[in-house]
Amino acid sequence: MIELLDPTVEANTQSIAYVDRPRSLDGKRVGLIENTKFNSDRLLQMIGEILKAEYGAAETRMFRKHNSSVPAHEEIIREVQKTCDVVVAGIGD
């Protein structure tokens, strides 16, 4: 009999508190998180226009990450908390 040691890690469990999804976008301020990839700003801009025209969103604001490989940086997160109700994050390539 041979005993093997497991080379993998078990994920640490953590709970993430999500805000309830809004029932409607009517009057909501929409943050658009752009990941710097080519055309990602144009794609998100179009989505923002649709959310305003068809879903009644009040306004959109675009934020640009430092680069596409990292999470949104702290300044963006703080600004989004202050100025947005919902966020759209996406990728364009």
Binding site: I2, D6, V70
Partner: protein, 345 residues
């Protein structure tokens, strides 16, 4: 004091079953592994004088802690000799460094491997190849150290092909991509000394990288001639628009010719940086740069790398043969940088 290992244990009948069990659990890179038993893992930890609980790295963007115990288990599986463990540990510290920015190169469709360049006395002590057949095969240290790092990426960081490793093509260097600089024969300042270490220190430099591209110059006997060919080969390579890091691997004949003309690494970098620039017109004509043609495009140039310092020059490769290689880094130096870590023993 007995070493306490806390990893989950699995019982199997015999060594052949153990190898099969590791395949079935999805723990391997596609090749058989050495069964990670307690005594082998303990020897690995002892060789690097590490406590199993010690954190070697923390992948911030994945919230994954890489402990010495897990590095040792994967190093055993990769077939490392225990004396290679300090190099594996330094390389893991490198990929966990925020400047390397693990999540991008570890996941990206662009399919980077982790190029590891070993400098200092440990390269000779472990017989890490710096000469003939540089990129393999044939040397245990070169093939097992890189394999260990890749198994850590797979088993600890979750970089499994098809899920969190989404490389479209990948490349053979993703199995192992380890070289040493040929310091005994190099006329130049070693890479780790250029990057802030003393010559007698050992260090490993990690760079998220594409496969090596070999170039030929069997004609010229001058530094300028050889590097002109290199620059012409390299000018359109890698993520042409991204401005990543590059590694230049200059082998025996080219190394001697270039050094014979009195060129040092700084002069090589400067020349290559100046001669690998592309005109905006060419980049637009060849569908690499967006936008309509503008007046002045023919005379406006874009450097392949942002700065000459983003080019790593390494003396390595066989003594004979008028070949050398350039290695494009992944993506962009803004997204991932080469990182050098000391090998501590």
């Amino acid at each position: 004091m007995p070493v306490t290992l806390t990893s989950k244990r699995h019982e199997v009948e015999d060594p052949a079953d153990a190898i099969e069990f590791c395949f079935q659990r999805g723990w391997t890179d596609g090749l058989p592994v050495i069964p990670p038993t307690q005594d082998r893992v303990v020897r690995m930890l002892e060789a690097a004088r590490l406590d199993p609980k010690q954190e070697i790295g923390f992948i911030a963007h994945r919230a994954v802690s890489i402990t010495a115990e897990k590095v040792a288990i994967n190093a055993v599986m990769a077939g490392c000799r225990p004396d290679s463990m300090p190099v594996v540990v330094a390389a893991v510290e490198g990929i966990a460094d925020l400047r390397f920015s693990y999540h991008g190169p570890g996941t990206s469709t662009a399919g980077a491997g982790v190029l590891m360049i070993v400098n200092g006395p440990i390269a000779r002590q472990l017989d890490i190849n710096a000469g003939d057949n540089l990129f393999g095969p044939g040397w245990r240290a070169n093939l097992t150290i890189g394999r260990a790092v890749r198994l850590v990426m797979r088993n600890v960081c979750g970089s499994i092909p098809g899920t969190l490793d989404r490389g479209t093509l990948g490349h053979p260097g993703k199995l192992s991509y380890v070289i040493a600089e040929n310091e005994p024969h190099s006329p130049w300042t070693p890479l780790h000394v250029e990057r802030g270490f003393r010559p007698e220190q050992s260090a490993v430099t990690v760079m998220a990288a594409e496969a090596p591209h070999q170039f030929y110059n069997q004609l010229s006997n001058t530094a300028e001639g050889i590097l002109t060919t290199l620059a012409d080969d390299m000018r359109i390579s890698g993520n042409v628009m991204g401005q990543p890091h590059y590694a230049l691997v200059l082998a025996g004949e080219h190394m001697r010719t270039i050094a014979g003309d009195g060129w040092d690494k700084q002069r090589i970098r400067q020349f290559v940086w100046e001669h690998t620039q592309n005109s905006h017109a060419h980049l637009k004509r060849t569908q690499r740069m967006a936008g309509p043609a503008q007046p002045g495009d023919e005379t406006t140039s874009r450097p392949l790398v942002a700065s000459p310092d983003d080019i790593l020059v390494v003396a390595a490769g066989g003594r004979a043969g008028a070949f050398s290689a350039y290695i494009p880094g992944w993506s962009s130096a803004r997204n991932s940088q080469a990182v050098t870590k000391e090998v501590r023993r």
